[in-house]
């Protein structure tokens, strides 16, 4: 039989008919459609048993309690912890995005040793044993040469066991150079020390305050403990408390406050003095407090009456005299008024005289250690360790003065001045810094004017970073000893600054460490043991875990279960015993300088002629402005496109100023300051004083991820530090600037 064309065709047609009558096409179609749903890159949620772990978020100084939802071994959601005294169920954008910092690809996977040049990005993976022995060898060598004091350490905090271990290590090793990164806490600590004679943290009774006078504090823009402050702000709506926001720019806080008073930047101290003038002149102050508990009032009164009449203050601040008088009256007449300072999110200090002027207002209103006012809160004293064993080398090393000059004759009351480090390192005075350890901070991004800091880093022979991410600082280190991130480690976390209620939270490993990282506390203990002798004896603990458990004692059990330990608010403070100054009273006179509280203008860099504008930074809660981590992808996606569009950041400028310069919305321009320059786009904004331009903090990162890298510019790199003559702190609030077309 011959198979012809017809035969073949009919075979094919018969085949088609048969196929159609078989389940094959229908089943294949069904299976193919299911297959398309199962491609390996399609994200699939975990399935399994749900559980919750209570811990604490340490991404910012807010210290919110968190409850992390887990499915089997995977953390799937971070929620605010209900019943936590800080945030009671609330959480911010950065906190929510924490899982991307845990599982994201940007983490450092193992200890790294630099192989190329500094900042070239060439690293060798090494083992932990090798890494620790490298540090031990280097430190042992320096110590044997009698140069123990040339080792420094920068930490994000000086509270809690981990920073205490760092400090303890340096002391036993023989170096006084432990540094804490600057924030408005420095200004407040110093103010409380000078005016009240106490070493304490500020605590604000926001719950009972009914008139909040904010000198530029971004109450809902990340100031203090952000979630707590947002809750307070909402509560004030219900209680009828008034919020007056004084700042040059219409921030979210200003927009939502009862009144926004635009002020020339950097003149907040003058306004405080002007308000004091009206209050004193009209005898609106708390007579009882001033008569019984204040010292130097008469001298200060003369100064205030003399120099700060509303008209003079109006000329400085740009606020009209009538507004100043009205504001002073309503502040003094409120039942529980409270004045606060710290610009933006409060991660940069304000000049000491400004902070003292604001604090003096609280004194006038009788709001010191009083309901609805500001309290000097001493930190919980729960870390009781055996005495440090000091050998001769340690004792000699500790005799040296600090590299940053804190506590020296010039700055007797300042505790930490890391902003002065670049200068000291570059000039090698009083001595060179030979090794620097960096933990939980990113000074090469957050300190102002990053270039000299980079140069200073070049001079340090041995830089060790504990960073979990390849941030700007870690990029220029010689050795990286990656710490577990907060969701992988144990750590005690004392209450946030500004809170009255005693509280210690416990960070707990939510998941097993995902990478070859190690707890910085364990590394320090191993370093001490490696160095041996008195150092090893000063660190008797087997591991950080045992150290922590022992330190917390009976609080441990409750902290593991609840995630925190809290005491009751102790607000009834006796004013008789509140002040530990020489006079035993609240001081209007700085006993060190002998001068009364006054306004000292902080002059920023640049001359008016070549730089006609003033650039100020601003903080937004969506941008993790001065955190040690940059914005995770979830967070950066929320940034408005009038702040950041594609890779360009917008500089806010008043339409009037823009019209004069002939600038249009969205135009690409060059923003330059005496320190540096960068390309930005113009955003016309009625909510900023003419002549002032504003850039957000938190952009211009490098070494992060594709979502953040190369977006915008780092405003800190454009602003030069201005040293506060009284305290040595960096009191810069902006810089002179110009905008030119490109």
């Amino acid at each position: 039989m011959k198979i012809g064309r017809r035969g073949f065709l009919s075979f094919v047609i018969g085949g088609a008919a048969g196929t159609a009558l078989s389940p094959l096409p229908w089943k294949l179609m069904d299976d193919t459609s299911i297959w398309t749903q199962m491609w390996p890159w399609t994200p699939v949620p975990e399935d399994g048993e749900a559980s919750y772990v209570n811990s604490v978020c340490t991404l910012c100084p807010g210290r919110c309690g968190i409850t992390v939802r887990k499915i089997e071994d995977r953390a799937v959601k971070i929620e605010g912890m209900r019943g936590n005294p800080v945030n009671n169920g609330g959480i911010c954008l950065l906190g929510l995005s924490g899982l991307q910092l845990l599982y994201g690809p940007t983490r450092i996977k193992s200890p790294l040793k630099r192989t190329g040049k500094r900042g070239q990005g060439k690293w060798d993976r090494i083992s932990w044993k090798e890494a620790v022995s490298m540090v031990v060898e280097k430190l042992g060598d320096l110590r044997s040469k009698g140069r123990a004091h040339t080792v420094g350490m920068i930490s994000g905090s000086d509270r809690g066991t981990v920073p205490h271990l760092f400090e303890r290590f340096l002391t036993a090793y023989g170096s006084p150079n432990f540094f804490r990164m600057p924030s408005v806490r420095d200004s407040y600590e110093l103010t409380l020390h000078i005016m009240q004679g106490v070493q304490a943290l500020p605590g604000f009774d926001f719950k009972n305050a009914d008139f909040i006078l904010s000198f530029g504090s971004g109450i809902i823009d990340g100031w203090g403990s952000p979630v707590r402050m947002m809750r307070n702000f909402s509560a004030w709506r219900n209680t009828g408390a008034k919020v007056i926001q004084i700042e040059p720019r219409l921030s979210n806080t200003a927009a939502k406050s009862n009144k926004w008073i635009p002020i020339n930047p950097g003149t907040e101290g003058a306004l405080a003095m002007g308000l004091a003038h009206v209050i004193i002149k009209e005898s609106l102050y708390d007579n009882g407090f001033i008569a019984d508990y204040a010292n130097g009032f008469d001298e200060w009164k003369r100064l205030v009456i003399d120099k700060y009449d509303p008209d003079s203050v109006a000329a400085i601040t740009g606020i009209d005299a009538g507004t100043i008088v009205a504001l002073a009256r309503s502040f003094a007449n409120a039942s529980n008024p409270l004045a606060i300072c710290g610009r933006g999110d409060g991660t940069t200090p304000v000049g000491l005289s400004d902070c003292m002027a604001v604090h003096a207002l609280n004194a006038l209103a009788g709001s010191i250690n009083n309901k609805g006012g500001i309290f000097a809160v001493s930190d919980l004293d729960y870390i009781h360790w055996p005495e440090i064993e000091m050998d001769a080398k340690a004792a000699v090393g500790m005799q040296h003065e600090r590299l940053d000059g804190a506590g020296s004759r010039k700055y007797p009351n300042s505790r930490y001045l890391p902003n002065r480090l670049p200068e000291a390192i570059l000039s090698e005075t009083p001595y060179p810094l030979e090794s620097l350890f960096i933990a939980g901070v990113n000074p090469l991004y957050t300190l102002m004017d990053t270039r000299p800091i980079e140069k200073a880093f070049e001079k340090i022979p041995f830089v060790v970073s504990f960073s979990s991410y390849m941030d700007e600082t870690a990029q220029r280190a010689d050795l990286i000893l990656p710490n577990h991130i907060y969701l992988e480690r144990y750590e005690d976390v004392p209450r946030p600054i500004g809170m009255l209620q005693p509280l210690i939270s416990l960070a707990k490993p939510v998941v097993e460490p995902q990478l070859d990282t190690k707890h910085a506390g364990d590394v320090i203990i191993q370093m001490a043991k490696g160095l041996g002798g008195s150092l090893a004896n000063s660190f008797p603990w087997e591991s950080y875990y045992s150290c922590l458990k022992e330190t917390l004692g009976e609080k441990w059990e409750i902290m593991v279960e609840k995630g925190f330990w809290s005491g009751s608010e102790s607000m009834t403070k006796n004013l008789e015993t509140s002040f530990d100054t020489v006079s035993g009273k609240f001081e209007f006179i700085n006993p060190d300088s002998g001068s009364a509280v006054q306004y000292k203008p902080v002059a920023v860099e640049g001359d008016r002629k070549s730089y006609p504008l003033i650039l100020i930074p601003y903080d937004s809660i969506r941008l993790a402005p001065n955190s040690f981590v940059g914005d995770p992808p979830f967070a950066i996606k929320t940034v408005d496109d009038s702040v950041l569009k594609h890779n360009d950041v917008f500089v806010e400028i008043n339409p009037k100023t823009a019209r004069v310069a002939g600038l249009r919305e969205g135009e690409l321009v060059l923003l330059s300051t005496p320190i540096g320059a960068g390309k930005v786009r113009i955003h016309l904004f009625e909510g900023i004083i003419p002549g002032i331009v504003a850039l957000p903090r938190g952009l211009g990162h490098t070494g992060s991820d594709d979502y953040l890298d190369g977006k915008g510019i780092n405003v800190n790199a454009l602003i030069g530090p201005v040293q506060d003559p009284d305290s040595g702190m960096d009191a810069a609030w902006g810089i002179r600037a110009k905008i030119s077309k490109v």
Binding site: I3, S10, G14, L24, D31, W35, P45
Partner: protein
């Protein structure tokens, strides 16, 4: 096919008229035609038969690979050893979610050490319990990723029996071979043993149609009682997607656009 043949005939007949060709020529053509017709039908039948064999017999054999479970578990025996039936091991968690196949932790409660002489138990204890490894069970009823099914709604609220969907697996003495679909990776039990999709029992298949079938019945019952709840609406929606002709009441809007219509089960 017949159209083609007719056409050929017409052409040939036409040619015969025009040329007035001899009888013999016509006869040859007719003969050839008859023979060709038979061949064509034969080939048609052959083609059809071959493809039917492929579609019904070979294709299902090729489509599924056969896998053995890591441990041959005896459900029947275990049911006699526990107090609470299926729920002793396949239980609801405190938050109402269903635990599914037990984890090692539950097995260890009894099997920390070898209890008997069964080689499967010895293998289980030695290979998994003592090494702390989870057993990689192959799950017959596993639905595609992102398909959400609430056991609580069906077992607790609607008082359904496990058997309705899972069959009499609880009475089985050994685990059957797991036939894995090579394209989707799922068990044959989802589509059902019958490649044609026929089923005798409710547990023979676990496709969306099977969800709908039951929901349709339930919704009809509810309709009779005249109760209208959000759940009924949902049931209507599902039925509407699967068999739009089944519901008596025609809705104004499309079910696909109805709020949450698909997303109750497809997350």
């Amino acid at each position: 096919m017949s159209t083609l043949d007719d056409h050929a005939k017409e052409m040939i007949e036409g040619a015969a008229h025009e040329t007035a060709a001899s009888q013999s020529t016509e006869g040859t053509i007719q003969k050839q035609d008859k023979g060709a017709g038979g061949t064509i039908i034969l080939f048609f039948i052959l083609g059809m038969f071959a493809s039917l064999i492929i579609g019904w017999v070979i294709f299902p054999k090729l489509l599924y690979s056969k896998k053995k479970q890591p441990i041959d578990f005896n459900h029947a025996f275990h049911v006699t050893q526990v107090d609470n039936g299926c729920e002793s091991c396949h239980f609801f968690r405190a938050d109402g979610t269903f635990s599914g196949v037990p984890k090692l932790d539950q097995c260890i409660e009894c099997h920390e050490e070898i209890q008997g002489i069964d080689p499967n138990e010895i293998k289980f204890v030695e290979d998994y319990v003592s090494k702390g490894r989870e057993v990689p069970w192959l799950i017959y009823s596993k639905q595609p990723d992102c398909v959400f099914f609430s056991h609580a709604a069906h077992i607790k609220s609607a008082n359904m029996e496990c058997v309705t969907c899972h069959g009499h697996i609880g009475e089985s003495k050994s685990l059957k071979v797991y036939e894995q679909n090579r394209i989707t990776g799922y068990s044959r039990d989802i589509w059902g043993e019958s490649i044609a999709g026929f089923k005798k029992n409710t547990w023979d298949r676990m496709k969306m149609d099977d969800c709908a079938e039951c929901h349709q019945k339930e919704s009809a019952k509810i309709e009779k009682r005249g109760i209208k709840t959000p759940t009924n609406r949902l049931i209507d929606d599902i039925v509407h997607v699967v068999s739009p002709w089944a519901l008596s009441t025609v809705k104004g809007s499309s079910v696909q656009t109805e709020r949450d219509a698909c997303f109750v089960c497809h997350k």
